[in-house]
Amino acid sequence: MTIFSFVVRRILSMLLTLFGVSVIIFVVLRLLPGNAVTAAMGVSVGLLTHAQVAALNHYYGVGQPPVEQYFSWLHATLTGNLGISLATRESVSTLIGSALPVTLELALFAMIFGLIIGVGFGMIGALHPGRWQDDLGQGVSVFGLAVPSFIIGTVMVTFLASVFHYFPSSKGFVGFFTNPWLNFQQILFPAITLSFGVGAAIMRSTRAAVLEVSNLNFARTALGKGVSRRAFVWRHLFLNALTAVTTMSGIQLGYLFGGTVIIEQIFILPGMGRLLISAINNRDFPVVQSVTLIFAAGFVIVNILVDLFYTMVDPRTRER
């Protein structure tokens, strides 16, 4: 299979998945019992402008059978009408436009820290199997997987405030372009908090993959012909274990998106997660629907990119 047909196939399958995801979200949020859209609209409609009511009617497909409601929603979403927030009466795309960069920055930093922790401990453990370095790494991963991020976050907030009298979030969130240094301080601790779970999972797969590779014949050959240790570790072992590490990182992104929801609450970051929770508490369906859809779309797209990435890097995966 050529790379081109592979890419086309992947993108088609991605579109199909995204379509399915939108149907699932629609069914869960609109068709399950207890759905309060009509009730919520009844209360808020008086406060909206005529144009907003028209946009919402189109968004919801008010008065149409479910299937047409779905396509009305899909059409609205694809044309950039993400609905009107019933709580703040702002357009949802405006709300998401200001929240998304915060969450992306948080997820990016958490992923970087997670990769450093995960690949670092994983490599060290795999290079010294059964020794104390390995045990230390294993111990870290057991706790990384078992301690929920909100506990780490709560402990961290408490410590920073009471021991170091350090309140990075007290001034209100500052964008990266306004004040990069303060922004970094505000993102740093939530990102570290999130990175533990991700790091533990990446560490496990790194360790397993490197151990597996190091038992293969080519690794012995490389050692036998006198490759330097550094080249052996990074070029022979790590490069071959990279497929497993990237796959795991892609999967962990879903966890990361989920994690931001809770972490943004604790560290008071105005991201997608905070938007989602306040929307859930206000039963603000357009916001919940759009935020969930964007998270899912992000997850799907990143995993396709991961797939494509290692197809480029690793010819073995192309033969399937």
Binding site: L18, I25, V28, L29, V155, V157, F257, I277, I280, F295
Partner: protein, 305 residues
């Protein structure tokens, strides 16, 4: 002569027994044999006992009992996890919270396990387009991060115990489907299943009497790991205030309420957190142990590594 043949066909009974005791140590023995499995089993049993005690109200103090003479007392023998700002015993509260959390987690895993296992069996055994549709659908569900799925469902349904369980369980269904499908795919063409098919056994008999017992190990491993995840997910939901409504108080809610107190009374945070962490470690370790028991190959590999 006839005696000799008899001996050939049926090995002496003592040998049979020796073989049996050597090979068939049983699930319990195999799990107990691995270090992680043993630790996990002990913790899980203690967790379940604690949860049952908490649910039945068999706690050192009544969890809601406010003692004005023991407000914000630290850790001591009479109050293992100290007391909170109302003089309530944190340990008793944590046991009760554990009961609520574990009930939701167990229900969630039950839902996910039944639907996911059935889906995986059907997808693996029937193959062709049925399998394609189920796996496609699984991919789609997998694309929505599980905790977001749970949040969406809680928004739509509400947050009673059953609603929370559904919300948490649904996210784990695709994992069961994937894990169950591949061994079923292999078993479908195994000789003993083919033999059963030739003998004219009904499809349901083949599925439930011949295939299901052979994937029990995989399902058990997954169930243990799913319980660990469900406890974390439930704690997360109730931390966000989307857990079961009061007076039920789960562990996540205790953590969230103690976060403002944590700077002055660390034990109010440490107690419920510790219970969550220990329970999760227990189920994770039990999962490891079950995996070792189900797959001795992995065990030797792990030991060598």
């Amino acid at each position: 002569m006839s005696q000799n043949i008899h001996q050939l066909i049926e090995p002496p009974t003592d040998q049979v027994q020796a073989n049996a005791s050597q090979k068939h140590v049983g699930w319990f023995g195999a799990v107990w044999g691995s270090r992680n499995g043993r630790i996990g089993l002990i913790i899980v049993v203690l967790t379940i006992i604690g949860a049952i005690c908490g649910s039945l109200g068999v706690t050192p103090y009544p969890p809601a009992n406010q003692d004005p003479n023991a407000v914000l007392k630290g850790v001591s023998l009479s109050h293992l996890f100290g007391t909170d700002q109302f003089g309530r015993d944190v340990f008793s509260g944590a046991l009760q919270g554990l009961g609520v959390s574990l009930e939701i987690a167990a229900l969630a895993v039950l839902i996910a396990g039944i639907i996911g296992t059935l889906g995986g069996i059907v997808a693996g055994y029937l193959g062709s387009w049925t399998s394609a549709i189920i796996m496609r659908f699984t991919d789609m569900m997998f694309a929505i991060p599980a905790i977001l799925f749970a949040l969406a469902i809680v928004t739509a349904l509400g947050s009673s115990i059953l609603d929370s369980a559904i919300a948490i369980g649904v996210g784990w269904i695709p994992i069961y489907v994937r894990v169950v499908r591949s061994p079923v795919l292999a078993l479908r063409d195994a000789d003993f299943v083919r033999a059963g098919r030739v003998l004219g056994f009904s499809r349901s008999r083949l599925l439930f009497r011949h295939i299901l017992p052979n994937i029990a190990g995989v399902v058990a491993v997954q169930t243990s790991l799913a319980l660990a995840w469900a406890i974390i997910a439930e704690a997360g939901l109730s931390y966000l205030g989307l857990g079961p409504p009061p007076p039920l108080e789960s562990l996540g809610e205790m953590v969230s309420q103690s976060s403002s107190l944590a700077a002055t009374a660390w034990w109010t945070l440490a107690g419920p957190s510790l219970v969550i962490i220990i329970a999760v470690i227990g189920f994770n370790f039990l999962g490891d142990g079950l995996r070792d028991a189900a797959d001795p190959r992995a065990r030797t590999k792990a030991r060598k590594a």
